[in-house]
Subunit: 218 residues, 8 copies
Amino acid sequence: MNFDIRFDFQRRERIGLIEAIWGQDKSIDQLKRLSETVLGKNEIVFITRINSEKAIKLLDLYDDAQYNEEAKCLIIGKNLNKLNTNKKVAIISGGSSDLAVTLEAKLALEIYGVNCQSFIDVGVAGLHRLISQLEEIDKYDVLIVCAGMEGALATVLGGLLAQPIISVPVSVGYGVSKNGETALRSMLASCSPGIAVMNIDNGYGAAMAAVRIIKSIS
Amino acid sequence: MNFDIRFDFQRRERIGLIEAIWGQDKSIDQLKRLSETVLGKNEIVFITRINSEKAIKLLDLYDDAQYNEEAKCLIIGKNLNKLNTNKKVAIISGGSSDLAVTLEAKLALEIYGVNCQSFIDVGVAGLHRLISQLEEIDKYDVLIVCAGMEGALATVLGGLLAQPIISVPVSVGYGVSKNGETALRSMLASCSPGIAVMNIDNGYGAAMAAVRIIKSIS
Amino acid sequence: MNFDIRFDFQRRERIGLIEAIWGQDKSIDQLKRLSETVLGKNEIVFITRINSEKAIKLLDLYDDAQYNEEAKCLIIGKNLNKLNTNKKVAIISGGSSDLAVTLEAKLALEIYGVNCQSFIDVGVAGLHRLISQLEEIDKYDVLIVCAGMEGALATVLGGLLAQPIISVPVSVGYGVSKNGETALRSMLASCSPGIAVMNIDNGYGAAMAAVRIIKSIS
Amino acid sequence: MNFDIRFDFQRRERIGLIEAIWGQDKSIDQLKRLSETVLGKNEIVFITRINSEKAIKLLDLYDDAQYNEEAKCLIIGKNLNKLNTNKKVAIISGGSSDLAVTLEAKLALEIYGVNCQSFIDVGVAGLHRLISQLEEIDKYDVLIVCAGMEGALATVLGGLLAQPIISVPVSVGYGVSKNGETALRSMLASCSPGIAVMNIDNGYGAAMAAVRIIKSIS
Amino acid sequence: MNFDIRFDFQRRERIGLIEAIWGQDKSIDQLKRLSETVLGKNEIVFITRINSEKAIKLLDLYDDAQYNEEAKCLIIGKNLNKLNTNKKVAIISGGSSDLAVTLEAKLALEIYGVNCQSFIDVGVAGLHRLISQLEEIDKYDVLIVCAGMEGALATVLGGLLAQPIISVPVSVGYGVSKNGETALRSMLASCSPGIAVMNIDNGYGAAMAAVRIIKSIS
Amino acid sequence: MNFDIRFDFQRRERIGLIEAIWGQDKSIDQLKRLSETVLGKNEIVFITRINSEKAIKLLDLYDDAQYNEEAKCLIIGKNLNKLNTNKKVAIISGGSSDLAVTLEAKLALEIYGVNCQSFIDVGVAGLHRLISQLEEIDKYDVLIVCAGMEGALATVLGGLLAQPIISVPVSVGYGVSKNGETALRSMLASCSPGIAVMNIDNGYGAAMAAVRIIKSIS
Amino acid sequence: MNFDIRFDFQRRERIGLIEAIWGQDKSIDQLKRLSETVLGKNEIVFITRINSEKAIKLLDLYDDAQYNEEAKCLIIGKNLNKLNTNKKVAIISGGSSDLAVTLEAKLALEIYGVNCQSFIDVGVAGLHRLISQLEEIDKYDVLIVCAGMEGALATVLGGLLAQPIISVPVSVGYGVSKNGETALRSMLASCSPGIAVMNIDNGYGAAMAAVRIIKSIS
Amino acid sequence: MNFDIRFDFQRRERIGLIEAIWGQDKSIDQLKRLSETVLGKNEIVFITRINSEKAIKLLDLYDDAQYNEEAKCLIIGKNLNKLNTNKKVAIISGGSSDLAVTLEAKLALEIYGVNCQSFIDVGVAGLHRLISQLEEIDKYDVLIVCAGMEGALATVLGGLLAQPIISVPVSVGYGVSKNGETALRSMLASCSPGIAVMNIDNGYGAAMAAVRIIKSIS
């Protein structure tokens, strides 16, 4: 069946992206087996949403494993095929409670060799914090905006800067904002034109959307 | 039953507000009978959400009836007990599609003799429009903010000005913003402190909340 | 960039409010660093939704820290710029299960030097409890109403008293009332005119809305 | 199959109730055929939610047909087996917009020979209206409470009177109360004990619940 | 203020019901204080949704305290004013997972001296189980139906028996039935006439609705 | 590209089903062009949800076009490759309001040459109606159950008969059952084992699920 | 009462299926009693969603008990009346996180003696994985498709293969896919014809739907 | 106030985009006035969601107005500052019912001088249709994917091609897919990495997101 020949590429060969491993629902045994397989292909292991208990067990096994507890991400090995780009991504965030999501995006971008900078705590309740950073943010090529609550940051930025904007609703807060649904719908309904939206808390996905853009630029 | 003596005030006597008549689900007959009763008590008739077809029939009956088609409000008679106040209300709106709601609020405030000014189309997608009006808006004592879509205007204003802010989500838009639910939840989840929220499209209610504040000020 | 000069006010300078720290999703390290920064500016630290485990660690560090376990609020230092007002706030609550939310509002008001009084357990299932307190409640300038379940207390009070009413839905109960959504929608749909609504459990926000009103009065 | 013998009762024989015909989605032909069948069994025809256009066609066919346009109900013939009871039902309603639902309940009760009285427009925004009628309402054996908006009337009544209370949420209003869902959830979450709830706008069902109670009493 | 005289009845005097104490969100201290107050008025203490940890502490304090762990209800003292009735309630349940809710209803009814009988596990997936008990169930005066999943039991019973039916959706299951919302909506939408519905898991409320009916009968 | 060779089958060749045309959102021009294309391939045209206005225009164009107004389906031409099967499908329905959905399923089955029989109005509110037909229904090989309201018919049938059951929620009713969502969730949550569910009103899809089963049988 | 004689079949006699025991909400005592009863009837005990803590206690009691921890299913005894069939079921899954659901389906099918094969991790994000297995999957008679996230696997398979397809949404993921609701609605809205859907995570139900089909085939 | 100088740019100057006029909720008078203003600034008028009745009135007024009825878009004048780019956008759509949304995107892109090509009706129910076009689609720089129903097209494409993908859920269908909410959530939950999502039916927004990307590339 010559089908397989045509289609049996690795994801990297097909779309230039490697598969991240979603650690939350997987047992330590599943994670070990998956890691071995991926490393056996000389690919980097990138596990998201892995708690410290499971991470420690993998850190014991692999010398070059690195765990970022705030991002809940674990990396083993190296990405041998980083992008060759000088394009840069700014990760802008409304509050320090969005930290985990912004870090997940940052780590994912760094794996691909994409230069990125975080601008934390520039929420629009204190507009001057954002305005004072605007010129600096404008130097970046793609903007990732992470915000919980009502997610107004995406709208305000989208009205001020011309770059591609990838917005990530964050599940912080209480009451109507508890699960990120309000930030999600707010970003989708933004009155600023051309704001693209990812799933709630999907920092990794935002990084991949940025990588898609940067690859098409570079 | 000495109960009635204690409780049988008119709403005006009890809380200083007159009852508005919600015109949407009422037949022309019901509206006529209600109007007669209210006018018989020397009170002003204020009918909200009344379409032009029904309004015309009432305009025929009462010489001093006035219909505002954009606000879908009809007024008959005069309010003999206006507030004696020099406090002013600013009605700020994100887009011209919010016009009906802002007008309903404006008419309701004017009935009570409250001076108010509309600032239309200062949505945050073009932040400069709002910023350029900020000093002017700051001269008002109470702010009513009407916005559809993602309702970010309330958050931005709430971070910039110190007045009481009453926000009204507006049911304009399509997709996730179609029925005003996104603007509602966004305003409730606002990261600016002390933003109070009304029901979707409830311009009249916002005016009454402002009247409550102005009466407590004056 | 003369921008910063114009905009780089503290929130207090801009809108007269200090920023509360939302303790729930923050690590003890984040809380320590934030507290130091705030205290370094001679401002009061007010942390909401902080559990006792984290609170104890901060109590060890600061002599003048005070923790209210029922409100889950921690205060460090003093507010040097209290409001100079004789206006008073009544906090009215439907049941003892709403206690945490009413206390959060009370503590937040006291920080600003606003006199306030709680009226607990005057739910409308036993209407006489409310009616017997009505004359007393009427002496206050702004009313904060906290209620879970179906939130009918806001409507009944709104029909009886003329003050500004800020209502806070509370997430107590089970079944359809479990997460406060029913109380929220009920308050928004109130047939009493001019009832303003805050996010679920947002006692702090209600206090800030009251402070906005009191500042505009005083 | 001796099954049929056991089970093939008419609904009247089985549970003492006749089947109402839901007119909304049925064509005039379907309604004609159904009416003939029912009348052929010497039963009364009771069609709910039938618009005037369809009603007129049936009025032409049957001399003893009666159409109540406000209730959107059409009755043909007579119920030959009315209940023999002196128990009475009070139908209490928060506003004149609930009229159609209260009338549907009233007509359904009258078909069974149950004495009932409507108390319209005793909504809790003007509590005195309800209080002043309380002694009169207390003379009735079963209470049906119809209310839209936030449905607080059911809670207040439930705390004041001891009778069985059947509450019907009504789909009037706008924004969060538009489709009756808020009144429904509010009634279900009532803090008054023992309030039973029907589907939105289900005046007929409330009448049948009352008939079940009255039959068990009588 | 002669108001209090008129209204300051106990709930028992007003509507013949005693107040249950909802134990879930209350601290052990709150429960102790409430229990003392209630017992001081010679009333029975009935605490619902109290876990065994809190219950044990109260069992230590009161000799006549009784805890039903499956129902999660604790009773202290005696109800001195039971109903004088020979009316009986059947509590019918679709599956053994509904046990806690049926027991809460049963205990609440027994406090009022109402005779009741449980018919567990007569769910309609095995229709014969229900049919074989039908004659026995028909001997009872009021039916309480508890069911999770799709709640079809209420509809089937409502088509077979003529008694007042109070249905209680139960929050068992997974996926779409997880939180009881499906059973709730299913019962509200029942095609059997006159089925009244309570909040999810509200066994106590169903008992109170039954008590209201029995008091009106007796 | 040898890809196309492998994949470019018609749907009939691939999975033995022809594509139905969904008429609701299509213009008359789109429908004409699609019909011509399909007929040009000697396939039957089956248009669902087409209103009479559009249908008449197509009836004028094609001699062998047939329109079923109650089903809102239009058929042009003949299916030259009917299934060769003696398997039969029973379409069982809770009420006459479900007629359009049952007819859409029936017409779709007949196109494939599948023998089917409708059992209308055997809803479980009058259980005897279903029970009396049970032996007859049991003679069929696959059961399609259409029901609105609370959809209890699927559960009851699923507990009584062993055949494959495909259930279709129907969007009739009002209040909580208005849009078919309650019937959908009720069928998904069924306590009878092995009930499969289709989208709301999807009579055509149910027929196709039945065809899949019959093809695997035959 | 000759009723019981007619209806008091076991479920196996009526519809050929045995009842599974849902272990999640049942106490160890309830599970013991149920197991004894079932085994006393020479039937197999099949407990789903039972955690290891409860399972261990049952494993101690019964020598022939077997616990599958990943599936969270416990089996005691043997099914003496397996199906006599050579029909086979393929269980296809989008990712390794769906494992528990696929295993529950597999165990349930094996109890009935149905041959089945799992095809794990053939999600459509890497389409070649599915395409390369297509010929193999096509050898099976009934397809069970388990998928979380957006559930696109069901649509793609439904367009490629002609078998009966039973799809099971799985509650893995985060944000909008967290509880399986998105996969559920996606499968119901599938543009491939004749895809039948089960409740979220209902692997057991899918197996029973497959058994119904296989019994009607065999 | 030197503020205005800094901020009072046109949107084009700030972010290089012109403002589209949302025609749905605006009166013909509002549209006329807005058009005049925009044309007066030598900008192009682009009105979306304008029905033919309103469009005709504007076509009468402006010689160079063009109305696309299927897209419901009206264009007056010319864009004098088109992008100078050779980058191309592919607009891929699951079915002909998505036509309006794809056309709105296409018209918006053409205004900016972006070359784009539509690939209609390549839905994944017939996977070969998509596969056979894959090489052609791969020649484009940015992909806009429009799909209703379950939106699986975005996932499949995202797994096959490396470009930036902007997906637009479309509100076609019935039952659970009626309002586009299922397609929206499905796209957000996509298991393919880096899929960005717009509001339901927001073809214009997708075009603007593409323009942002192309501007950052060019």
